[in-house]
Amino acid sequence: MPDDRSLDRHLAAMARSSVDRVAATVDVDAEGAEFRRRHQGEPSPTLVTLAGNDRVAPQRRWVIASAAAAVLVVGLIAISIRGGDDSAVVAPPDTTISEADTSPATSSPPPSTVETALSTIVQPEGTTRATAEPATVAAGGMVTITPDGVVERRCLDIVTATLLDTDTTMVAQIVSGRWVTPDGGGSDVTYPACQGRVSNEPVSFVVPVVTPAGTYEMCLTEPGDATGCARLTVTGADERLSVCLTQPQAPPSLVDGSLPGPATIESTGGFRGARWGDADSPFAVYQVLDEAGDPSWLDDALADGRAITIDNLQAVSIPVGDPPLGSITIYLRDALEGCLRTYSVGPGLLSDEAAGLARQWVDALATGMAVTGPGHPTLVAGYVARRYIDEPPFFAIDRFDADGRAAGALSGDEMERLLAPPRLADGSILTLAEPQPDGRCRNRLLFREDGADSSALAPGLTEARSIGVTPAGVVVATRDVCPSESKWGDPGTRWELVTFDPASPGRAPQIVFTRDSDREQIWFDGNGVVYAGGEMIVDDISDDGRYVALVDSYHIEKAKWQVIDLERPGRLMTLASTCSTRGDIVGPPRFIGAGLIVVARLCASPGAGTESAAPAQPIGSGDIQVEAIDLNANDPTAAIVWHGTVPGLGADGYSSTAGLDAQLAADGSVWAILTAGGDVEKPSRTFVLHADEADEITRRAYSGFAFDPAALV
């Protein structure tokens, strides 16, 4: 089923092409002349920026920082010479300081200047025209600095602090809430992108709890720009607040609802954190220590109703990256205590799952009751579940026994076997060449690989778009057929399903089913590439090799499934159903042996037609019917051997599809696992259906469930 990637690639090509075309019309010389004209009066800046978007050795940064302080002081001298005329433009001294040069001889100002600087620093008047509210704050508290006019913030997440009331110059930086000192404290910090913003808006930030007491010049701007620097007195952290931020506080549960157990204190790059759960567990919870979180995330959530609140307890979950591959921060605050604790969970969680976890935590803290995880019904057999991870192949599969107890993850070798290409009866491998072609009328080369040898499968089957191999070794392939120089949508272009038996190499591929191109289903046509619906992709083949399930994409993000009987070419199967009017099959059909197929289907409204009448249109709505059908039954009324449903459980909103796996128990009964009802950022729910029962086995951080791991790849 195609996804956004194909469209994205094309949109990217269009965008870049457009920018390139426009760029070609820009007269660089004329722009340069205009730039000179407009900014001729601009002083030649010698400003030194401490932070960048790369990692710079801390020592080098602090050489620069020291030098910057000196430049600031010289600037102050210049200000005093100008008699404090605020309107005057004070040109900094013509001193350029290079980041690359770390030698004291060149990165520090002359000694006499330093001496003057130190004597000047203790006279803050004139160096700070911005205001701090409150003017005195305990470490760990919040302060708001209001510039004395429009300033250009040097870096959005950096405040430079210069201690004023000592006889030695001490400069530190608050970087994204962390206290970074020149002696290497916080040396592993990643500096944020250094992008300024011109504004006179107040800036609020938390003074790190480890900030030494004293009076500081806190600068939003380059030190020396009094407009953006305020005088702030920091007192020692409140004892209760200090304990709150420095001592680990166990969360009510791990991600999966289990008890957290003891904390492990970890230190990375000078920063401390606490961890509950195994380091390699997807359910571990981390807490940031020694660092007050930014309360604005929680305050904003409280203001707009997104926060979870019970009595004095408040929480909000904020994605850090792109869930489920990124982590999620949960801010938790007891308003009476006044301390904001910062926890981190993921990757693997969707935003809604993290919000659900935060809600459980608040409930547990408010009621004093332990978090209870979901129940785990006893099934006919163990099962597997898929969770996202942040490294290739970006998902892992975990086993659970029939009682729902975790039984370990699939090994790397097992994952590799799952993802392996199909093999022919002689052991050779059948592969489609990479990369995936863009658009219709472009098939992939089809190879047969045997050791180091690689060859075309057959003269009549040199390329395809999807492939499968029956247990007997017959190749099932789909491909686009386009006459020379034609493009998809032109007369004669079509999609077809073919079979080829390598055991009879002289025999031509057999065409089983064709579908003509349909201009009505073209999604995109540009730059010589056509994306269109109506394509079907081989999804599964029955154990007896007779039936093929195909994914039928009718929308760039939506699909349904079709089944073809290879012994009855030329038509799609019309499977018996409990629905009075059959709607789409919205999940992958499962061939479970004994001539049975299990499908997940929507029922259509009367008069809406059947699934084969209009391939481009979705049919049916409402709850999903899971049906086990005897493919060998002659009488359709007797073909349904079992069906089940979960009231209120419809297809996933985003894809209009569902996850399905099924198996036949030793007693001949059918068990099915149905995953559906989700949407973007909203996790699907998973149920085991058996007889008349439906038991939920949804687990936080898992996105797919099946009896057979192969059903999850």
Binding site: A12, A15, Q40, T49, D54, G526, V680
Partner: protein
């Protein structure tokens, strides 16, 4: 003459055309794009000592351009300049995408400003969701939402073709 400083002029010549083009794609107006490109280069010059060492100065400029554009729409000064520009131009359309015949410009012209900026950074500059979120100081969720809406809007155009 600040442009003549070592390294900066080469950088200016290397990036100015694309930055103006990027701004024009986002703003739909060459003059606005030129204004903002000059402002972005002025900031680059102010921070030259540190930014010059970045691996992707063009990316830095694109981020600054995006924020300047968003700020520009709030800026009284920009309004004044816009009025002056309008007075100079004999025929001005509404928000006037000026790149007739350009498929991308036509496609994104109907998008709200922030979506236009986000899709341009994403598709033309290949910035990730997280990079865009950091650059514009918005949440990744907001970027994803904007991209999704923009894709839907682009898809909804039955005549989606390139020039």
């Amino acid at each position: 003459m600040i442009v003549a400083e070592t390294g900066f002029e080469d950088c200016y010549r290397q990036h100015v055309a694309r930055l103006v083009a990027l701004g024009e794609t986002m703003a739909g107006d060459r003059e606005v794009a030129r204004d903002l490109a000059h402002e972005a280069f002025l900031r680059l010059h102010r921070h030259w000592e540190s930014v010059a060492g970045y691996q992707d100065v063009g990316g830095w400029l694109a981020r600054v351009m995006a924020n300047l554009l968003i700020d520009h729409h709030r800026s009284r000064d920009a309004q004044r300049r816009a009025v002056e520009r309008l007075a100079r131009r004999p025929d001005v359309g509404s928000a006037g995408i000026e790149m007739e015949g350009d498929g991308w410009a036509t496609l994104v012209a109907a998008l709200p400003l922030r979506q236009r900026v986000i899709v341009t950074l994403h598709y033309a500059e290949d910035l990730s969701v997280v990079d865009i979120a950091e650059a514009l100081e918005i949440s990744p969720g907001t970027v994803k939402s904007a991209l999704s809406k923009a894709r839907d809007a682009l898809r909804s155009r039955g005549d989606i073709t390139d020039a």
